[in-house]
């Protein structure tokens, strides 16, 4: 596609000592002094980003672990052991939030994982209009989520919404969509897939282009039909990308917040769209219980750490 961004550095490391610059003062201490100066310059370039990371990334990570075992009352911090975890565990919303989050993840994997892959397969088959189709699929990714989510809220409206109107054309009775506990989560996932599928589709398209055509020819000689070719050639050939995207999708969907928050006010009918992150949000910003929010966050972190580690390892393996 474009510049070889991810190619490895072809330059062989040379350890040849550099000649001193003409006119450079000969410092006492020689090699050591030069090294020191080089390091001061290098760390000077680094300091801005490092400070930002220290304040807004590293320190908050440590703080998250501390918070989970602390309680803050009237500005006084005390250690409470596992109390926050017990509080969170005994909350009736806890079980429901996990079930909802898992349900969302399963639905989002069925829709959000399969739909972009099939879309990429379809687009890849055409010899015309690929640019236009790619543009269409990526368009929603560029909208501010607030705009697309509020837009979907209108489309889902049981009265004046477009979705019931379209279903009516096919003789399907009107649905309650977001107002019905049975369809609320599915509606959220459909909106979320529409908003986010563009990136995955483009990545799959790039991967499909690297599948050697001879493999399809060989499969045809063996009498393979379309589906068998997809299953026995395309999927194995793009296996690594598919696996990486699967992991990323799991990590992303387990953290879903904005779609349920804006579409159903967070909890949804009978709590049917309460997710873990929404619960964290509630503890922290509605109940001011930062300890419980941190404890819940840690549980999510532990669960996702495995997926993250697998993703990082695979990604590194793929790029080397």
């Amino acid at each position: 596609m474009s510049a070889p961004i991810l190619t490895k550095d072809p330059v062989v490391k040379d350890r040849r000592p550099r000649r001193p610059r003409a006119g450079a003062p000969h410092l006492p201490g020689g090699e050591f002094g030069k090294n020191l100066r080089r390091n001061i310059t290098a760390h000077g370039f680094l300091i801005g980003a490092v400070l930002c990371f220290a304040f807004f990334s590293w320190y908050p990570i440590v703080r998250e672990f501390l918070l989970a075992f602390q309680k803050t009352e009237d500005g006084r911090v005390s250690w409470v052991g596992w109390d926050n975890f017990v509080t969170v565990w005994n909350d009736p919303a806890f079980g429901q939030a996990w079930r909802n989050t898992l349900w969302f993840t399963v639905l989002a994997l069925i829709l959000g994982f399969v739909v972009p892959f099939v879309t990429a397969l379809i687009i890849n088959e055409f010899r015309h209009g690929q640019g236009y189709l790619r543009l269409l699929v990526y368009l929603p990714v560029m909208l501010p989520p607030t705009a697309s989510v509020l837009l979907f809220k209108y489309l889902y409206d049981p009265g004046y919404g477009m979705f019931n109107e379209i279903l009516g054309v096919f003789g399907v009775p009107a649905q309650q969509w977001l107002q019905d506990p049975d369809t609320a989560m599915l509606s959220v996932v459909v909106a979320s897939t529409w908003m986010n599928m563009g990136g995955a589709t483009l990545i799959y398209l790039a991967a499909l282009q690297s599948v050697p055509g001879e493999l399809y020819e060989a499969a045809e000689l063996d009498g393979a039909g379309l589906l068998r070719k997809v299953w026995h050639v395309t999927v194995p050939q793009t296996r690594l990308i598919l696996l990486l995207m699967l992991l990323m999708q799991i990590i992303a969907t387990m953290q879903v917040f904005i779609e349920p928050f804006l579409l159903t006010g967070g909890a949804g009918p009978e709590g049917s769209t309460t997710t873990i992150v929404y619960l964290i949000y509630q503890y922290a910003f509605n109940f001011n219980n930062y300890g419980a929010a941190a404890a819940l966050g840690l549980l999510l972190l532990v669960l996702l750490a495995g997926f993250s580690a697998a993703y990082t390892r695979l990604n590194r393996a793929e790029q080397d």
Partner: protein
């Protein structure tokens, strides 16, 4: 375009194959256009309807009467000019901070190779493994009272700008690109007496334009699209971003005016995308999997 795909060229060359191909193609184009442009069409046209028409059952496909003044009303009632200016200010501020600090860091890690550089890069990349939402609470508490300097950054643009620098993926992307710049080029410049800053400015940056473009676009779009973080750290309505402001005013304005404001909020990033779609799409696939 001669790469072999799922369906064999021989099959496509037959008359039946040709007909089937074009039928499928037409179907897919229509379907995709409806699925992806349909909601956008509905948004733009919904903003042109009267309030009654916007909430009538059954809905109308084409506005009965056209009311472009809804857009003007949205602009005035919701003070979109203010929200738009705020968002631009945050987005380009974040861009400036990311370009200066992340590029400097990546350059240092890639070419100057300081002591502990590897460890620092490792610590930065490790943050990618922590789910972002888990950090929202402790990050928020940090912004309330930044340690050591003891400042409250609530309602200040710094609360958007500084955390935006902690984008380990940007640094990784930039470092990989800088790694591919031949060392001889930089050594030659150093031999001619150029300092590190001079080398960065006159050699590294000019050849890195493609990656800088990609990073810049994603920095701006990132701020434009963000919701939870700006909602938390910018509670003052006059300081809010477009995305947050529209959400907080959503229930207090008529539907047609709200829909018009959604169109206005979407326009800048859509235009940016149409203008730079080549860079964005190639950046997405070249930059690996983080989309």
């Amino acid at each position: 375009m001669s790469t072999r795909t799922l369906i064999s060229p021989a099959q496509l060359a037959r008359p039946r194959g040709k007909v089937l191909y074009w039928v499928c193609f037409a179907l897919v184009v229509v379907l995709f256009t409806l699925a992806f442009l349909g909601p956008l069409y509905w948004m733009v046209s919904g903003g042109l309807k009267t309030t009654q028409e916007a909430v009538q059952t059954p809905p109308t496909w084409v506005p009965g009467s056209v009311h472009p003044e809804n857009y003007q009303r949205a602009w005035e009632v919701m003070d979109l000019a203010k929200l738009l200016m705020n968002t631009l200010y945050y987005a380009f501020g974040a861009l400036a901070f990311q370009l200066v600090l992340d590029v400097a860091a990546a350059y240092s890690l890639s070419k100057l190779r300081p002591v502990l550089g590897k460890a620092i890069l490792g610590l930065m990349l490790a943050t990618l493994m922590i789910p972002a939402t888990v950090l929202v609470v402790p990050q928020y508490l940090t912004v309330l009272d930044v340690p050591i300097v003891e400042r409250n950054l609530l309602n200040s643009p710094w609360a958007i700008w500084l955390p935006s620098v902690t984008n380990a993926f940007n640094i990784f992307l930039l470092k990989r690109f800088f790694d591919s710049i031949p060392k001889e080029l930089l050594d030659a410049a150093a031999m001619d007496g150029a300092g590190s800053l001079r080398v960065l400015w006159s050699i590294v940056l000019p050849v890195s334009r493609p990656i800088l473009g990609v990073v810049s676009i994603f920095a701006v779009v990132g701020v434009w699209k963000d919701f939870l973080w700006p909602m938390l750290v910018l509670p003052d309505p006059s300081k809010q971003t477009l995305a947050v402001g529209i959400y907080s005013l959503a229930t207090s304005v008529p539907e047609n005016v709200l829909i018009a404001s959604l169109t206005i909020a979407s326009l800048p990033t859509l235009l940016l995308f149409l203008a730079f779609q080549r860079n964005i799409m190639s950046g997405l696939t070249a930059g690996g999997l983080k989309g």
